[in-house]
C-alpha cells in the first residue's frame, strides 16, 4: 500500500527573508542594497568556502577586488531593471509538474538553491489562485535519497478519479543513472501540498535493456486506456533517433512496457519533456488527458536536447498498441512546428479542470552572460501561462494565448486608431514608460500594393532576412519596443510579407535583437518563422513587454516568439514604443491598443495571507 508513511520527507523551509547569500560573495544583499522587497523569493543560499572546494587562493584575491565593480557595460540600475514584474521567477528555475488542486494552482519547478547556474537540482514550489500572483512555499522535494541524489528532475502529476494526486519524477541516482520515482502528498487535505512522501520502493522504473542509462527521463501525466489501466510515456533515444517509450500500470508501482513506441523520428536526438495530450477539433475548450474519440486530435510535443527547442505535431492516437501517427510526416514532431521561435524550452501543459482549459507553460532562460546573472542574483523565468486550442482554421497549428487572468493587471489603456505609417517611416506611440505593457495591434496593407509589388526569387527567412533594417517591397513593418527616444536601442517585432517570382505571398513573423542593446555580451539573434495567414485575415499581433522579457503572438497565437532583452539605455523612463514601416512599396495602417501593466506579487507566503485567503475564497476567480 503506497500510502504508507515510509521515506517521509519534509520540504526544508528555505529562508523566506530578503537576505541572500551570493554564491561568490559572503555578503548578503537586501533592501538596503537596492534589492527590492518585491523581488525576494526563496533563497536557501549556502555560502561556499574552502570546505566546499573553493580554494583559499581565490578567497585571498577577492579581498583585493572591490565588490561594487560590475563587468562593463553593466551598472546596477541596468541589471535591476531586468527583473520582471509579472513573470514567475525565483533565483533559478526549470519546468516541472503544474497542476490545479483544491482551489490552488501549484507550480513545482527545478531549482538550484546553491547558485545562479544549473546544478544541485531540487523541487521548488509555489501556489497561485490565478496563475499570475504567486506565493513561494518551502521546497517540495530535495535530493535526499540515493535514487535522486544527483538531481530531483522533471516529473508530472496525475490526478486520480478520486481526486488524489500521484507524482512520477525522474531522479538522477548516485551513479548518475536516470530512474523514475513515485511520490505523493503526505496530506491530501492540505490545500498547499507542502509535504511530500517518496514511495519506499523507489525507483519504480529503471532504464530498460537497450536504452542508455542517461537517456531515460521526464515521465508524462498518465491517461486511462480502454482497459482501465494508466498509460505514460517517457522520452529517450536510440542512436540519433528520438523516441518515446510507453508503459502501462494499474498502481503506478508495477509497469509493463509496450512493444511499440509512441513515436520515433530519426535525426532528432534525445527527446526530453515529452508531452502528450488531446485537443478538441470542434470546441474551444481544453480536454482532460484521458479523453479520446472522433472529435479529438492528439498532440505529441518534445523538447529537443540537441537544439534546445520545443516542437509539436498533430496526429492520431492508436490506443490498441499505444502508438501515434502524425497527420503530416513532413512536419513531424522535432522537424516541424515549434511552440515558440525564440527562447522557450522544457514546456509542458496541464489540464486545468477549474476552468476546462489546457494550459502551457515554458521555461525561459537568460540571453546574457552568467557574470551578469550572478550580479543580478537570479537567472531564468517562466513564460506567462498560455491556453492551448486547436486552430481549426489551418488544421495544422495550435493556438497559444496568454491566460485571461493576465488582463487583470491592465491599468490605463490608450487606443490609436488607423494610424497611417508611410513607407520608410517611424511613428511614436505615446503611452508613457514602456517596460510593462500589453500591446494589441492590427495592420492593414494596401491591397493594390500587394498585387503590384515586385516578387523575388530569394527565399526569405527571419534569420537570414537582414532584420528590421533590411527593406523589402512588402516588409518589414510592425512595432518597436524597449526603444529609446533616439532609437539607439530598439527591439522590432514585425511582419514581413514575401512575394515570390510566381506572385505567391508568404508572411513571416520575426523579432530582431541585433540592435536591442549596446552591450556586447548579450544574445542578438533574429528569431521568427513563417506564419499562416488566411484570406481576408488582417495581420494582428499581441506583445507582452515585461522588462527583460518580450512575448509576441501573431494571428491569435498561431506563431509565437519569446525573447530576452537587455538594454543599457532603453530602461525605466527612457523606454518607448513606436510603429515602424520599413517596406518600400506599401503604406501600412495600424490600429493599436496599449495598456500599462501592473506588477504581480510573487513572494513567500506569510501568516497574514491566511486571513486574506479567507476573504479571497468568496471572490475566487
Amino acid at each position: 500500500n503506497y500510502w504508507s508513511d515510509n521515506a517521509r520527507i519534509h520540504g526544508s523551509l528555505a529562508s523566506s527573508t530578503s537576505k541572500r547569500t551570493h554564491p561568490l560573495r559572503p555578503v548578503s544583499r537586501g533592501p538596503a542594497q537596492g534589492v527590492s522587497e518585491k523581488t525576494s523569493g526563496i533563497w536557501a543560499g549556502v555560502s561556499r568556502g574552502p570546505a566546499q572546494g573553493v580554494s583559499e587562493k581565490t578567497n585571498r584575491v577577492r579581498a583585493s577586488v572591490p565588490w561594487n565593480i560590475l563587468p562593463e557595460p553593466w551598472n546596477s540600475t541596468m541589471l535591476e531593471w531586468q527583473r520582471t514584474a509579472f513573470h514567475f521567477q525565483p533565483e533559478k528555475n526549470w519546468m516541472n509538474g503544474p497542476l490545479f488542486y483544491n482551489g490552488w494552482y501549484h507550480f513545482f519547478y527545478q531549482y538550484n538553491p546553491n547558485g545562479a547556474v544549473w546544478g544541485d537540482i531540487v523541487w521548488g514550489h509555489a501556489v497561485s489562485k490565478d496563475l499570475i500572483n504567486w506565493f513561494h512555499l518551502p521546497l517540495a522535494m530535495v535530493a535526499d535519497q540515493w535514487y535522486d541524489k544527483n538531481g530531483v528532475w522533471t516529473g508530472s502529476a496525475t490526478i486520480l478519479p478520486d481526486g488524489k494526486i500521484v507524482m512520477l519524477y525522474t531522479g538522477s541516482t548516485t551513479e548518475a543513472v536516470q530512474v523514475q520515482n513515485l511520490a505523493f502528498p503526505a496530506n491530501h487535505s492540505d490545500p498547499f501540498l507542502i509535504d511530500w512522501v517518496k514511495y519506499h520502493g523507489n525507483p519504480v522504473l529503471v532504464p530498460p535493456p537497450g536504452i542508455y542509462k542517461k537517456d531515460f527521463r521526464d515521465p508524462t501525466t498518465a491517461w486511462l486506456t480502454s482497459e482501465g489501466k494508466w498509460r505514460i510515456t517517457i522520452g529517450s533515444k536510440r542512436d540519433k533517433t528520438g523516441i518515446s517509450l510507453v508503459y502501462d500500470t494499474k498502481d503506478f508501482i508495477n509497469y509493463e512496457m509496450l512493444e511499440a513506441e509512441l513515436h520515433a523520428v530519426s535525426g532528432t536526438g534525445m527527446w526530453e519533456c515529452v508531452d502528450f495530450f488531446p485537443v478538441s477539433k470542434t470546441e474551444e475548450k481544453g480536454l482532460d488527458t484521458s479523453i479520446n474519440g472522433p472529435e479529438v486530435k492528439h498532440v505529441v510535443k518534445v523538447s529537443l536536447d540537441d537544439d534546445r527547442h520545443d516542437y509539436y505535431a498533430l496526429g492520431t492516437y492508436h490506443e490498441k498498441n499505444g502508438s501515434w501517427i502524425p497527420d503530416l510526416p513532413e512536419i513531424d514532431v522535432g522537424i516541424g512546428i515549434r511552440y515558440d521561435y525564440g527562447i522557450f524550452y522544457a514546456s509542458k501543459t496541464f489540464y486545468d479542470q477549474n476552468k476546462n482549459r489546457r494550459v502551457l507553460w515554458g521555461w525561459i532562460g537568460e540571453g546574457d552572460s552568467e557574470a551578469a546573472d550572478m550580479e543580478k542574483g537570479w537567472a531564468s523565468l517562466q513564460s506567462i501561462p498560455r491556453t492551448i486550442l486547436f486552430d481549426n482554421k489551418t488544421g495544422t497549428n495550435l493556438l497559444q494565448w496568454p491566460v485571461e487572468e493576465i488582463e487583470s493587471l491592465r491599468l490605463n489603456g490608450t487606443e490609436f486608431e488607423k494610424v497611417e505609417v508611410k513607407a520608410g517611416s517611424v511613428a511614436p506611440l505615446d503611452v508613457g514608460p514602456g517596460s510593462q505593457l500589453d500591446i494589441i495591434a492590427e495592420f492593414e496593407i494596401d491591397k493594390e500594393a500587394l498585387k503590384k509589388a515586385t516578387g523575388s526569387n530569394i527565399t526569405f527567412s527571419c534569420q537570414t532576412g537582414g532584420g528590421a533594417a533590411k527593406s523589402g517591397a512588402l516588409g518589414p513593418f510592425g512595432i518597436l519596443v524597449l526603444a529609446d527616444e533616439s532609437l539607439s536601442e530598439q527591439t522590432p517585432v514585425y511582419f514581413y510579407i514575401a512575394k515570390d517570382s510566381d506572385g505567391d505571398l508568404k508572411t513571416f513573423f520575426c523579432t530582431d535583437l541585433s540592435r536591442s542593446s549596446k552591450a556586447p555580451d548579450v544574445d542578438k539573434q533574429i528569431f521568427g518563422s513563417y506564419v499562416p495567414v488566411l484570406k481576408d485575415e488582417n495581420l494582428s499581433l499581441r506583445v507582452l513587454v515585461d522588462h527583460s522579457i518580450v512575448e509576441s503572438f501573431a494571428q491569435g497565437g498561431r506563431t509565437v516568439i519569446t525573447s530576452r532583452i537587455y538594454p543599457t539605455e532603453a530602461i525605466n523612463g527612457a523606454s518607448r514604443v513606436f510603429l515602424f514601416n520599413n517596406a518600400t512599396e506599401t503604406c501600412v495602417t495600424a490600429s493599436v491598443k496599449i495598456w500599462q501593466m501592473d506588477s504581480a506579487f510573487i513572494r513567500p507566503y506569510s501568516d497574514d495571507d491566511d486571513k486574506d485567503d479567507d476573504d479571497r475564497k468568496s471572490s475566487a476567480p
Partner: protein, 180 residues
Amino acid sequence: MKNLIVILFAFLVCQANAFRPILLLGNQNLIERTCKQTPFYDLCIWSLKSNPESRDASVKKLAQIMVDSLKTKATETFDLIDELLQDGLALDPEMQKALTSCAERYNVIIRGDVPEINAALKTGDYKFAAKGANDAAIEANSCEIEFPTKSPLTDMNKVVHDVSVVVASIVKIIQTKFSF
C-alpha cells in the same frame, strides 16, 4: 613466429575491450578525429595529448580533460589578474577598472561555469555543459574587449576562449553522436 602470435593475440585482447568499431583503430585516432571536429585543432590536440589520461579515453573523458584544462588556464589568468592588481600603484584607473571587471568574469568561469559543466557531464544533461562552456568563452572575450588600449591578458584570454569553444564542440559530439 611465436613472437608474432603473441603480438597478434595481445592486439586482439586489447581490441576486445574497445567494443565500438571506431576505437579498433586506436585511441590516437579518436583524439585526432575528435579534434578535427573542433575549430581549434592544434590547441585541442596539444591539450589532450599532453595529458596521459587521454591515452585510452572515451570521448566523454576527453571532454573532461578539456574542462580540467579550462579550469587550469582560467585559474592561471585569474592569478595573473590578481598579481597585476596588487601592483596597483603602477596602474592607471582605466586599466584597474578593466582588470577588476576581468577578475569578476574569471571568478564566474572558475566557480560558475566549470562546476556547471562538470555537473552536467556527470549526469548526462549535456546542454548545460554546452551552456557553461559557451558562457566561459563569452566571459573571456568580454574581458578582452574591456581594455581601451593594450590588454595585458590577450594571449591568456584567447587560450581560455578557445579552450572553452573546444569543450563546447566536444560536448556537441557527445550529444549528437554517442550514447554515453
